[in-house]
C-alpha cells in the first residue's frame, strides 16, 4: 500500500480495530456495544458456583486525560487541582512516558539558553523537586513510583494504569465516551466525560474521534519554513532504544544475540559520536517514511538489533578500550517515540513563530530546545548527522492555546508531541518539559470548561485571561505576559518592605514576573537570614491565603540524569536556594498572630491557607534555606 493510500484509509482502519472478543459498532453510543463473553464461564471450586465474569464498567468524570507521560500527568493534576473530577488513563504499567523506567529518556526542557537553563516551573517543577526529595539515589524505577505518588495523592484524580483508550464514541462532533481496554483485568471501560485531553503522543483516541491530523514533513512553502524540505514528504522522526552499562571492575565479555544487526561505523558522520555511550546512544534510532505507528513493532525489533550491534562494536571492535570492564545492565525494550500524528487545531505553530518569537495573545506555554530535527533514516542513514540542530534559540518562545485543541472535535484538547504544529516546530517543542507546560495549560483550560460549561475553543475566545492568570498563579511562566490577577490582594497593598535587601527590590514581588529574565531582575533577595517581608494595607482586608514563589534557581536543571551530573548547569540535589523554613503572620487588633509554620518546604510555590480573617498587615519570616545564605523570592500573593 502506498503511503497516500494508507492515510486515506487510515481512519477506516482505525475504526475497524477492535479488542479480541469484542464486537464494536462504528459509533453512536456505548449502549449499542455488543459485548459477547457468554462463553467465558468461571467455576469457583470453593463454593461450587458458576457464572459469567462481569468485565464491563462505565465510569463518569468531568475530564478524561489519556496518556500518562509528563504532559498527561500535568494535565490531569492541573485539572484535578482546579476542582474538576478527573481520570488519567495510561496504557503502560508505569507513569512517565519516555522518562519512565521503561524508556529512561532525560526529562529535558529548556536546558540551555546562552549557557543557562530557563527551567519550567509549575507542576513539572513540583514533580522534579518531589523526585529530588524521594529519590536521592536517582533510580528510574523509583521515579516511576514518585510519579505514581504524585498522581494518586490528588483527591480529585483517578488513575487507571494498563488501560488504553482505544476508541472514541461520538455524539456529533463531540466525544461522548472513550472505550478503554484494561489489559490486566480484561475489562472494557466506558469512560464518559465532558472534556477529553489526548496526551498519548500517538493519539489513538483522537484519531478514532475523527480529529484531523497530519503526519510527515511540510514543504518549505506551506509555512515559509527555512528548515523544511523543499517538498512535503512522509518522513517522521524515529524512535530510539536506550541502554545503560556499568563498570564491573573486571573485563567483561559480550556476545551479541541472534537478532543483533552488525554495526561497523564505516562512513558514519562525525557527529555520530560515542561520548556518552555508557548511558545510551540516542542515535540508535529508526523512523518511518510512512505509517510509523503501524511500523512500530517492526522498528522495535530492528532497534533491538541495532542496539546490540552498536554495543558489539563498542565492546569488540577494539576501538573502545575504556569499555573493557563495562557490561550492559539495562536495555530498553520499548523504543522512545518522537513523532507520529500531529493533530490540527485552530492554529498550527511553525518554525517562524518560534525563531521570530511571535507574541501570541493566547500564549500558555513556552519552549526553547533547539530546532533539533533528526535526519531522515536514523541509524539506517549514518552518513548524515543524527540531527541537524538547525537553530539554537537565544530566548524562549511562546506556545499558543489555539494549537492545543482540535479544530473539528469540539471537546478535545491535546498536549505533548501530538499538538497542532509543523514537523519543524515539533523538532523543538517535543521535549518533555515543554510538553508538560502544555499539559498544565490544557488541564487548567479543561477546568475552566467545566466551571462555565463551555468548550475548549470558547476558553480561548472568552476566558484566555482567566486561563493565563490561573496558570501563572499555579506557578507556570508565560514569557512576556506578566500576571495581573485582580483577585490578588497583594496588588492593592499600601506599603511593602523587607528587613534587608542584598539584591533586587521587595516591590518586585508585586510586578507579576516570577523569574529574572531578559536581563531584568524581578526578585527580592535578603541580606542574610532570618529575613522578613511585611505588607500593609490601609484598609482591612479579608484574607485566607498567602502564596509565595521562592527561588529554586530556574537557571540550573534539576531533572534526573543517568550520569548524575552535578555542575553549574545540572544539579543532582535539592536546590540550595529553596526556602526550607518559614512562618506567616497577620496583624489582628494590633497583635501579630501566627498563621502557619512550614518546615521542610518542598515546593517553589508555597501556600499558606487558613480560616478567613480580617487584617491590615501580614509578615513572612524566613529562617532557613537548603543551603543558601540569603533567601530569594519572586512573588507574593494574597487571596480571600
Amino acid at each position: 500500500m502506498k503511503r497516500r493510500d494508507f492515510f486515506k484509509k487510515g481512519a477506516a482502519v482505525a475504526a475497524a480495530s477492535s479488542v479480541s472478543g469484542i464486537v464494536l459498532s462504528s459509533c453512536s453510543s456505548s449502549q449499542n456495544i455488543i459485548y459477547d463473553k457468554t462463553k467465558d464461564r468461571w467455576f469457583h471450586l470453593g463454593n461450587g458456583k458458576s457464572g459469567v465474569p462481569n468485565r464491563k464498567e462505565t465510569k463518569a468524570y468531568e475530564v478524561a486525560v489519556v496518556g500518562g507521560g509528563a504532559a498527561g500527568i500535568c494535565a490531569a493534576v492541573a485539572s484535578a487541582r482546579n476542582g474538576t473530577k478527573t481520570v488519567l488513563i495510561q496504557d503502560r504499567p508505569v507513569l512517565g512516558g519516555n522518562a519512565s523506567s521503561e524508556m529512561r529518556v532525560h526529562l529535558n526542557g529548556v536546558n540551555n539558553i546562552k549557557g543557562k537553563a530557563e527551567r519550567e516551573t509549575g507542576i513539572i517543577e513540583e514533580i522534579l523537586l518531589h523526585n529530588r526529595f524521594e529519590n536521592e539515589q536517582e533510580s528510574y524505577p523509583i521515579f516511576d513510583h514518585v510519579l505514581y505518588d504524585f498522581v494518586v495523592r490528588e483527591p480529585n484524580l483517578t488513575l487507571m494504569l494498563n488501560t488504553q483508550a482505544i476508541e472514541a464514541i461520538m455524539d456529533g462532533n463531540s466525544i461522548k465516551s472513550a472505550l478503554c481496554w484494561q489489559a490486566t483485568t480484561e475489562k472494557l471501560f466506558t469512560i464518559n466525560a465532558k472534556i477529553f485531553i489526548d496526551c498519548s503522543g500517538d493519539g489513538l483516541l483522537a484519531a478514532t474521534a475523527g480529529a484531523k491530523y497530519r503526519t510527515g514533513r511540510e514543504g518549505k512553502s506551506e509555512f515559509n519554513e527555512t528548515f523544511a524540505p523543499d517538498n512535503a514528504d512522509g518522513w517522521q522522526m524515529g524512535a530510539t532504544l536506550l541502554m545503560s552499562s556499568k563498570d564491573m571492575g573486571r573485563p567483561m565479555k559480550y556476545t551479541p544475540p541472534s537478532y543483533a544487526i552488525k554495526y561497523t561505523h564505516e562512513g558514519a558522520h562525525p557527529r555520530r559520536h560515542f561520548k556518552w555511550f555508557k548511558d545510551g546512544i540516542w542515535w540508535i534510532e529508526v523512523g518511518s517514511n510512512d505509517d510509523i505507528i503501524g511500523d512500530f513493532e517492526e522498528n522495535r525489533h530492528k532497534l533491538m538489533g541495532y542496539l546490540h550491534g552498536v554495543w558489539d562494536y563498542i565492546k569488540n571492535s577494539g576501538n573502545f578500550p575504556e569499555a573493557e570492564n563495562l557490561a550492559l545492565d539495562w536495555v530498553g525494550s520499548l523504543p522512545c517515540r518522537r513523532e507520529s500524528r500531529r493533530f490540527i487545531g485552530d492554529y498550527i505553530v511553525s518554525e517562524k513563530d518560534m525563531t521570530e518569537h511571535k507574541n501570541f495573545h493566547d500564549a500558555v506555554a513556552y519552549g526553547g530546545w533547539s530546532l533539533d530535527e533528526h535526519n531522515p533514516g536514523g541509524i539506517e542513514n549514518i552518513s548524515e548527522p543524527p540531527s541537524y540542530f538547525h537553530y539554537h534559540f537565544k530566548e524562549i518562545y511562546q506556545f499558543p492555546y489555539r494549537s492545543l485543541y482540535s479544530i473539528n472535535i469540539s471537546n478535545l484538547l491535546f498536549a505533548g508531541r501530538n499538538v497542532s504544529q509543523t514537523h519543524i516546530a515539533l523538532s523543538s517543542s517535543r521535549i518533555m518539559a515543554t510538553c508538560a507546560l502544555m499539559g498544565q495549560a490544557v488541564g487548567t483550560a479543561a477546568s475552566i470548561c467545566n466551571k462555565y460549561a463551555i468548550l475548549p475553543r470558547e476558553v480561548g475566545e472568552q476566558y484566555i485571561d482567566e486561563l493565563q492568570e490561573q496558570l501563572m498563579r499555579d506557578d507556570a511562566f508565560i514569557p512576556k505576559r506578566p500576571a495581573r490577577d485582580k483577585k490578588n490582594l497583594a496588588q492593592k497593598v499600601t506599603v511593602i518592605f523587607a528587613n534587608s535587601t542584598s539584591s533586587g527590590d521587595v516591590k518586585n514581588l508585586l510586578n507579576g514576573i516570577s523569574r529574572d529574565i531578559y536581563g531584568e531582575i524581578n526578585h527580592w533577595q535578603s541580606d542574610g537570614l532570618p529575613a522578613e517581608v511585611q505588607l500593609e494595607w490601609e484598609n482591612p482586608i479579608n484574607l485566607s491565603s498567602i502564596e509565595l514563589k521562592c527561588d529554586t534557581n530556574v537557571q540550573r536543571n534539576i531533572m534526573m540524569r543517568k550520569d548524575s551530573k552535578n555542575d553549574d548547569l545540572y544539579a543532582n540535589h535539592i536546590p540550595y536556594e529553596m526556602i526550607k523554613t518559614l512562618k506567616f503572620y497577620a496583624r489582628v487588633k494590633g497583635q501579630w498572630i501566627s498563621l502557619g509554620l512550614i518546615e521542610n518546604n518542598r515546593t517553589r510555590l508555597i501556600k499558606c491557607q487558613f480560616e478567613t480573617l480580617s487584617t491590615t498587615a501580614i509578615k513572612v519570616e524566613m529562617t532557613e534555606t537548603y543551603g543558601a545564605n540569603n533567601v530569594k523570592l519572586f512573588e507574593l500573593r494574597c487571596y480571600d
Binding site: G115, G590, T616
Partner: protein, 379 residues
C-alpha cells in the same frame, strides 16, 4: 617604550588601523613608573581550573610608594581539543583591580578555532571584552565553553547546547580564549588586588584618601581600617562623614563600626541615625537590634528625640521594635513618638498599636481613644 608587543608582522598590519587606539593604550602602560615593584604570591581560583592556582603578581609603586598598578602573567590560556593554543598573556590592572590592558610576548599571536590567526580587529575586540565587567562571560559556565559544535542537543542523553553569544561579545572562534582571559582579568584577582592595595597604604595615605575626594578608594580604605582595627577618632569621624555623603558605603561602614568599642559604636550609630537618610537610618536600627552591646536607657530616649524624622513605615516599625526590645518602658520615648499618630495612617496605626501596650498618661490615653474613634474602621 612599546609594551603591547604583539608580533612584528601583526603589529605592522594593525598599526595603521589602530594607531589612535594603541596610542591611548600604550601611553597608559608607558607612563607606568617601573622602578619600584613588589611581588606577591597569591592563590586564586579560576573557573577553568579544577584547583586553586598559585600565581605571582607584581605591584608597581610610584615614587611616593603609592601602589598604582599590577601585572601578572597568566599561566595558561586553557584549551580544549585544538580550539586554541596555550599562549602566555600579561594582564595589567590599576590599583583597584580594574583591568587595563593586555600584552603578548614578542612574536606571539592569538589564534582561533582551527588555527586561524586573530585578525587585527580581534586584538582590539579582545581588549574591549576584557574591559567589560558585565561581559556575558561573567555568567557563562565553563562546561558550556567546552561544548564543541558536535556536542549539540542530544535529547536522550545530554542537553548541552553549543554556546551562542552575540558577535560583539566574543571573538568568533576564540570564545574559550576570551572566556579564560576574561576570568583572569575580572575574577577573584580583583579583590586580591584591592586587598594588596589596601595593605600597602600607610596610615597617612589612608587618611589622605578619606580626606581627599577619592571616592573610588573609600571601600578599600574602610576595609583596611577594619582589618587594622583602627578606630582612632580622626578615622572614625572621617568614615562617618564619608558614609553620610556616599550612600553606597553604609553597609560597609556599619560592618566596620560594629567592631568598634562600645562607646565608639553607639556614638557613631547616633550620628548616622540623626543625619542619615531613610536607608541609613534603617541600617543603624537593624544594627542596634542585633548588637550585643548593652544599651543604656537614655540612648534610645535621645534617638527618640528625632522620631519625627522617621518618614517610612519601615523606619518607624524598626524603631518601635528596637524600643520594645531594648528599652520598652521609657516615658521619654513614648512622649516622643506620640506625634507620629499624626502621620500617614499606616504609620500612625503601627504607632497606635505600640502605644496601646505601653503605660501612658491619662492625657495620652485620651489621645489614643480619639485616634481609635477616628480610625476604628481601619485598625
Amino acid at each position: 617604550m612599546l609594551r603591547l608587543t604583539i608580533s612584528n608582522k601583526t603589529m605592522n598590519t594593525i598599526k595603521f588601523l589602530t594607531f589612535i587606539y594603541l596610542t591611548t593604550l600604550v601611553s597608559f602602560v608607558a607612563a607606568l613608573p617601573l622602578e619600584k615593584t613588589n611581588q606577591y604570591n597569591l592563590v586564586v581560583n579560576h573557573p577553568g581550573e579544577k584547583k586553586a592556582i598559585e600565581i605571582v603578581i607584581t605591584q608597581i609603586l610610584n615614587e611616593e610608594d603609592f601602589p598604582v598598578s599590577y601585572y601578572m602573567d597568566v599561566p595558561s590560556v586553557i584549551c580544549y581539543e585544538q580550539v586554541c593554543k596555550i599562549i602566555p598573556v600579561k594582564l595589567f590592572w590599576n590599583n583597584l583591580g580594574e583591568y587595563q590592558i593586555y600584552e603578548l610576548e614578542p612574536q606571539s599571536t592569538l589564534e582561533k578555532y582551527k588555527a586561524d590567526s586573530f585578525e587585527p580587529k580581534d586584538y582590539i575586540k579582545l581588549d574591549r571584552i576584557l574591559s567589560n565587567k558585565h561581559s556575558p562571560f561573567k555568567d557563562v559556565l565553563y562546561h558550556q565553553i567546552l561544548t564543541s559544535p558536535d556536542d549539540n542537543d542530544v535529547d536522550a542523553v545530554s542537553g548541552a547546547t553549543a554556546l551562542i553569544l552575540d558577535d560583539e561579545d566574543t571573538v568568533p572562534g576564540a570564545a574559550l580564549g576570551c572566556y579564560t582571559l576574561w576570568h583572569w582579568a575580572n575574577g577573584e584577582i580583583v579583590d586580591k588586588i584591592k586587598n594588596l592595595t589596601g595593605k600597602s597604604f600607610s596610615e597617612k595615605q589612608l587618611k589622605d584618601l578619606l580626606s581627599e575626594d577619592k571616592k573610588h578608594f573609600f571601600p578599600v580604605v574602610i576595609q583596611e581600617l577594619s582589618k587594622r582595627n583602627n578606630y582612632l577618632n580622626s578615622f572614625v569621624e572621617l568614615v562617618i562623614q564619608k558614609t553620610l555623603e556616599e550612600k553606597i558605603l553604609i553597609q560597609q561602614s556599619i560592618e566596620y563600626l560594629e567592631k568598634s568599642p562600645q562607646n565608639v559604636y553607639y556614638a557613631s550609630m547616633e550620628k548616622i541615625f540623626i543625619k542619615g537618610n531613610e536607608n541609613q537610618k534603617i541600617h543603624v536600627l537593624r544594627s542596634l537590634m542585633k548588637s550585643n552591646y548593652t544599651l543604656e536607657r537614655p540612648y534610645l530616649s535621645r534617638l527618640s528625640n528625632h522620631a519625627s524624622s522617621l518618614k517610612s513605615l519601615q523606619e518607624v516599625s524598626l524603631f518601635l521594635e528596637v524600643v520594645q526590645l531594648k528599652n520598652p518602658v521609657s516615658e521619654v520615648v513614648i512622649k516622643n513618638i506620640f506625634p507620629l499618630l499624626k502621620s500617614d495612617l499606616v504609620i500612625a496605626r503601627s504607632v497606635y498599636w505600640f502605644l496601646k501596650n505601653q503605660k501612658t498618661t491619662v492625657d495620652q490615653e485620651e489621645e489614643l481613644k480619639i485616634f481609635h474613634e477616628q480610625n476604628k474602621d481601619k485598625l
